[in-house]
Symmetry: C2
Subunit: 128 residues, 2 copies
DNA sequence: TATAGATATGCTAATTTCTGCACAAATTCA
DNA sequence: TGAATTTGTGCAGAAATTAGCATATCTATA
């Protein structure tokens, strides 16, 4: 009953939802554009059933929303901020010392990829 | 090896670490002040062993740091921002419709508690 | 020796995830 | 009209994983 328990339980649930690499990947892709199950399947290289089920998990907590269009179902982030917030979490990860180097560059790439549509130039929105 | 897989795997791991209410509670308490295992045990109402083990999980990803003082071991957040970032996650939770009301006020309380050191004396906000 | 905490062990229980399959909805075309 | 196709959902069941807890033991400080 204490609000702390309530809120921390809800947060824990949210974190549980996000504790799967594929679901993170999905959110990452969905940040760039709305996608169908089929498209995600190709991008992620897993079965369409698996994609659908991961989407069901995300949907169950209203992190994504479905929009039917003809025989396609496009998914998009209910709150695009989610992707941004997740990426901020990178500041708290601590990879193996042995892979710190690799991770650092991976993080750099990921940051620019999540921040912009394209990792390369094309957009010069980011100063400094 | 694609950086996306690397980063999303690391993030998933981080989220996994945070997907337990008690660990969130611990972080919440640690945000306010450094605490010993014994103190946390009293606050959370669980055994000292359980506290210690949850701390071990948090420690394993360097989310908390231990500082020995005499025979006490004080824990504190390695990056205090963590608590702030976690609380922002509240924007993405979606409680049961039946408990939305309750949740909303709980969230309000939690926000002020996490935002400030002091939850403010005895608020009387609960109406219907 | 007593206190504070960490760690090892063992058990249990629960959860998650995947594969394959069947089903449903929208579409296409004969 | 209606059969076949595309697209996606959901279930069932197996399997792995794993997470959490309590007890008990071990270390370090005092």
């Amino acid at each position: 009953m204490p609000y702390r328990a309530v809120v921390s339980a809800e947060l824990a649930k949210l974190f549980g939802i996000l504790s799967h690499p594929m679901r993170i990947r999905i959110i990452e892709e969905l940040k760039k554009e709305d996608l169908t199950v089929g498209a995600l399947k190709d991008i992620l290289g897993i079965t369409h059933s698996a994609v659908s089920q991961q989407l069901a998990v995300l949907r169950s907590h209203h992190l994504v929303v479905e929009m039917r269009q003809g025989r396609n179902v496009f998914y998009h982030l209910r709150k695009p901020d989610l992707a941004h917030w997740i990426m901020e979490g990178v500041g708290f990860i601590s990879p193996d010392p042995s892979e710190v180097e690799k991770m650092m560059s991976a993080i750099e790439s990921a940051k620019s990829a999540w921040g912009d549509e394209k990792p390369q130039a094309k957009r010069k929105k980011r100063g400094a």
